[in-house]
Symmetry: C2
Subunit: 342 residues, 2 copies
Amino acid sequence: MGKLERHPTISDVAALAGVSVGTASKALNGRGSLREETRARVRDAARQLNFEVNAGARSLHSGRTYTVGMITTDTIGRFSIPVLMGAEDALGAGQMSVFLCDGRGDPIREQYHVKTLLSRRVDGIIVTGRRTEARAPIGRDLPVPVVYAFISSTDPADCSVVPDEEGGARKAVEHLMAIGRTRIAHITGPEHHHSARVRAAAAEERLAEAGLALAGAPLYGAWSEMWGRQAVGMLLASGTEFDAVFCGSDQIARGVADALRAVGRRVPEDVALVGFDNWEVMAEASQPPLTSVDMNLDGLGRTAAEMLLAAINGKPSPGRHPRPCHLVVRESTTVPLVPGGA
Amino acid sequence: MGKLERHPTISDVAALAGVSVGTASKALNGRGSLREETRARVRDAARQLNFEVNAGARSLHSGRTYTVGMITTDTIGRFSIPVLMGAEDALGAGQMSVFLCDGRGDPIREQYHVKTLLSRRVDGIIVTGRRTEARAPIGRDLPVPVVYAFISSTDPADCSVVPDEEGGARKAVEHLMAIGRTRIAHITGPEHHHSARVRAAAAEERLAEAGLALAGAPLYGAWSEMWGRQAVGMLLASGTEFDAVFCGSDQIARGVADALRAVGRRVPEDVALVGFDNWEVMAEASQPPLTSVDMNLDGLGRTAAEMLLAAINGKPSPGRHPRPCHLVVRESTTVPLVPGGA
DNA sequence: AAAGTCCTAGCAATCGATTGCCTCGCCCGA
DNA sequence: TCGGGCGAGGCAATCGATTGCTAGGACTTT
């Protein structure tokens, strides 16, 4: 509860230990040649005073702050959190602290954050966001390395770690074909979203490779459950035959599941369902739980952080680095085993 | 793409402008008495070199870093994000940057973060988490002020900004009574959760004040949709009469809504439903959309940040500060207007 | 013309910590 | 007894920026 007056400095420690400032520093950092007894005396003094070295003063010499900035281009949300946590995890292992900056989708605000981070002499910057679309670089000729995670930079020379959405969509389709479905519909988000277009195109391509085609054109709409429900209505009204739906998000898939159940179509027996994102609260609460494509967001964050650390140490990895997605299979594509079967 | 060699310093600026370092500093900070022409020359030089003052070096004098630490006790999640964003917002206005530290529920890790933050000389610390339960303080006699947001400290002298969950629960019950419901059931999370107990007790108390009682005992379980569905089964099986359910979370409420619909009970006509958290993706995607108690998490974060700033400036606000919840009314408690009614 | 004012800008100490270099004293050998 | 060698620890420069004090030049005033 009480609040100490001020931070003890190394002079305080030195005085208490009865040595000079330089000696105290050497004692605490294991440098120089000192008697073990002296080191111990200094360590005790430091402990007694609750001394914590002033990181700012130290970086004045070392030139490094062991600090990185993390900028979210839009709002901190469902997609940026896992990325952020993965990065925090990887950076924490390297003793680095993270400055969090929320761009709120405002370029002015974002530039302000970049300036602030540079002023604080971060060793590097990670940029992330909630859409996978490429965006303009946060700056040119910045004095520190930058890595884009989840989103990517329009400059091909920048380092971007992104999910292989195309591969993810292909895996979804392959899984549906593997369980014998041939009339696969696709319901997804707004067409102006990069992710929606990429996933739809990849799904069509994979089907074409197998000599198949989508059941009807991709239905572009919103990322919401309500759109999923509406789209099912449209699909049924159009008379399109389908035995599976690949959805652009878990929310859409959930809406689809609810709408199908409401009209008496069984999932997965009549219609198999695959979602995207593997957002657990959605995928697992769905009836039935959803098979879904996982973009491994925290792995993305971790990789981005590792690449940033490497770049800080002089080993940059320029270019775009897609990382594989994987499929998490749940009951929406697999008929459960008969209960009670001994 | 290119990467500059090193950060320009104020000496570089001074040299380019043809003045001494001290003069350059005064020019850039509007101090001292200098000719306007000199100031302009220095400003130009700074702009030319892309000079950003070294914040670490500066704080060596000022003693302030304009930096705060934010520690999440458990994982960064649905509850801590809005708090975090509110805080980031309020702090950003004060030109302060935020160090984000994820405690992962590990006390060792948490203590490590506290030490790191102190070493970085943050001006203050905000602690948050995903449960409202009081927790042990992160430290005693820390040299900087600490504010707890959402969660609270067990030390009553610490500053904690918390949601008035009790008040929220009362509002939910009052709303249900106001629309004429008298047999209100309560389905909520695990009994060992502080929030579950507090909300249940407040609901019972408010009903008692109106001469009523809960329909059956509170049903403690989990915060999940599945539990909501199961609980409805239990409620129906027990033969308890009820015309409303107050749920401990939106996820539970959603499960309840689905289960009721499955057995042909209409929401809100037969059973009105109120959730808790006002988690929009859940509340709005529910069929029907859920009336829910909003804890105003980002307001909590903002308030916490403001109190921290005040404490940093010597005006601490010790003690527990409950902040009101409010009810967001949606279709689960209101019969929609007849469509087409001119 | 000498002295007093005011304006401008430079000098140097300071913040906290690190580190290369130097000194002091002890021990050993010649 | 004197000098070399070495171990231990102090001194002071350094990192980048800030700021109080001071010096010098221009201008005014008596």
